[in-house]
Amino acid sequence: MTSFHPLLVGIHPRSEKLIKTFRAYSRKKISLDELNGTLQKESREIIKLQLDLNYRYVIDGMLRWHDLLRPLAEKLDGVEIDGLSRWFDNNLFYKKPVIMDEVKRTDEILKEYIYPSDVPDGRFKLILPDPFTFTSLSELRRRRFDDVLFEVSKAMNEEIKEIEMKIKLGQVQLSAPSLVWRKLDEDSLEMATDAIDECFKGVSAETMIHLPFGDALNSFPQILDTRVNVIGFDMTSTKLRELREYRIDRGVGLGFVDGRNSLIEDVNFVRRKIEAYLESNEPKVIYITPSCDLEHLPRNVADEKVKLLKRIVDELEEAE
């Protein structure tokens, strides 16, 4: 018997009010306390939206994150930040981390970036880039790729475990677009999956790897060797018929709801796709997710998609 849950997988868009608040802060018209106050309030709204819809795991919207790599790039020793680079094939840009020296975690990374206090115990969802994606999107100055990869994995593992000492996390997700964006060679994929396992070593929360912006099969079969509890797929870039051919012995996230287009999907259209998946697989849990972060959408559309995920779950439960 499969259970269904709605689940978010990345950065949520800022409201126009928050955008103005960030601008006022950068122009020194308001204090850091005032910015933090607005961030806290707006994170609370996103948390409440999910709690009201009975999401099992809840994100805080990651509203302070300018991009997925930024907290690590800002806080890790040995890393500096360079100019803008394109975020895969999106009209969205991130600041490229530059690896100058050995990468080490000497202080807490996410303390100023997460707002878990309004989420009930055991339901907060933490999201980070997977170490391979972080490393391959960085500029390596005179450093070996594999050295940096495992230094980053170790630092991330330390960070997750330290957070777990303070908060009972519900789920920890690594977002790994670089594993599916293009087909990697076998050695790279094996190295990437080793790094994921290193990252999750000793972590108590449910673990998830999410694969946006590409065909999930680009990461197969190696990704199935990771010890994560859930694998999430971008079903706007993956053929359902091909995915169904693999027996996946754990939870899956199915992203039929497009995180990059404003069209609100028809609930029954998505339900039929999920049912088609269930004809050949019967995972214990299916998370109904967007294909990627919702930050590619205006805030009102993103919120509408948060509600849509729940409607799809309701429809699936009713059909069962």
Binding site: R14, E16, L92, K95, T236, N261, L263, E295, P298
Partner: protein, 381 residues
């Protein structure tokens, strides 16, 4: 006849499009009125006293925004002319930016809200809800104004069909293909339909209206094209559809891209000229050796695949306040000519629009662009 002879010379000079807004388009302050006066006198802008009189009463000025925009356009035309450029535009003084402005003139398009571009920079993004149709030609009044006042050749920039589609949502075409098994193919086919409808229904009638009003040079901006390399052929097809039957010199502007992605498909585009960014990837040292002029190595691709095309090479970096010396401009042009193997095909240009630079910096850069082209020309005499 003077204009024709000017353009027949080697290394003609032109800009790309934008210039930061004229001082009086921002909040009117005493300092900005002074700045307006300074620039107006330097550029010899006609009607300056009338403008200053208007600005002396800000409430009255704000009620006459159309007049202020006309003056801004005039200031920018004179700005480029005074710097000595051969081909000019009005620095897009009347445009908000390159995406939102044209889509205000498109039926079945709806703005939905803001989305992030980077950090805390956002743009207002919308969706196509049906087949796009042109409500009325845009840029036409703008062009007629510039043509009336410009003393040099005019080139009008216009955002291409591919970029308008790529930066938008699609709530119409995708529905046609939802039954396809392959979601990537579904998205691709929907996008092909959208891009080609935009080219046919929006870009082409708009360009036609501009040409009928006297436009001789059209620059199509496609900054999105290399973000999805597999869609370069679609951009080329749309560009050809957009200019079908159009009698004008066509430039394609693409910047901050991996230009290798354009090849070989770009050879199929019915273009006269391509405008590219090079200075940003070059060194600041003088000289003609390969190491110093690394920003221009990419001309090898144009030499191999499109030797008939004029290349408007960026010799001015628009993202720094560094003022390129005339000698640096000269060396970049000479090297570009050498690398392409045909000096008659090199046009001296900026990397992109100057909207992020102050007028003081931009003016110095443009003056040296012209001086550098003159130095390069001397060497070929």
């Amino acid at each position: 006849m003077r204009r024709l002879s000017e353009l027949a010379k080697l290394f003609p000079t032109q800009e790309v499009g934008s210039l930061s807004k004229a001082p009086f388009l921002k909040k009117i302050t005493r300092e900005r009125i002074e700045e307006t006066k300074r620039w107006g006198e330097l550029l010899g802008v006609e009607g300056l006293n009338e403008l200053l009189n208007l600005l002396s009463d800000p409430d009255k000025a704000y009620k006459n925004m159309d007049k202020l925009y006309d003056y801004a356009s005039l200031f920018a035309i004179r700005f480029f002319e005074k710097a000595g450029l051969d081909v000019v535009w009005d620095g897009e003084q009347k445009r908000i930016e390159m995406y939102e402005y044209p889509l205000n003139y498109v039926e079945n398009f709806k703005f939905l809200g803001v989305v992030k571009v980077w950090d805390n920079e956002f743009y207002r993004k919308g969706a196509f809800m049906g087949e796009p149709k042109l409500k009325k030609p845009y840029h036409l009044d703008e062009f007629i104004f510039v043509k009336k006042h410009a003393r040099k050749e005019v080139k009008i920039p216009i955002t291409g069909a591919y970029t308008l589609a790529d930066w938008s949502f699609d709530e119409h075409y995708l529905k046609r293909y939802l039954d396809l098994e392959d979601p990537i193919k579904a998205r691709r086919r929907a996008k092909e339909d959208l891009v080609m409808d935009l080219a046919k229904n929006v870009l082409r009638p708009n360009i036609l209206a501009l040409v009928e009003a006297g436009a001789k040079r059209i620059q199509i901006d496609e900054p999105a094209v290399t973000s999805k390399p597999e869609e370069v052929p679609l951009m080329v097809e749309a560009l050809n559809e957009s200019i079908k039957g159009i009698n004008a010199k066509i430039t394609l502007h693409v910047c901050y891209s991996d230009y290798r992605m354009l090849f070989p498909h770009i050879a199929e585009a019915r273009l006269d000229q391509i405008s590219i960014e090079c200075a940003n990837r070059d060194t600041l040292e003088l000289g003609l050796d390969d190491e110093k002029r690394k920003g221009y190595h990419l001309l090898d691709y144009f030499k191999e695949y499109t030797p008939w095309l004029e290349i408007a090479v960026g010799v001015i970096d628009v993202h720094t306040n560094f003022i390129e010396s005339p000698e640096l401009v000269r060396d970049r042009l000479i090297y570009a000519a050498k690398r392409l193997g045909d000096e008659s095909k090199i046009v001296a240009c900026n990397d992109c629009g100057l909207r992020t630079r102050s007028w003081d910096i931009a003016f110095k850069k443009e003056v040296n662009l012209v001086k550098g082209a003159e130095l390069a020309r001397e060497l070929f005499k």
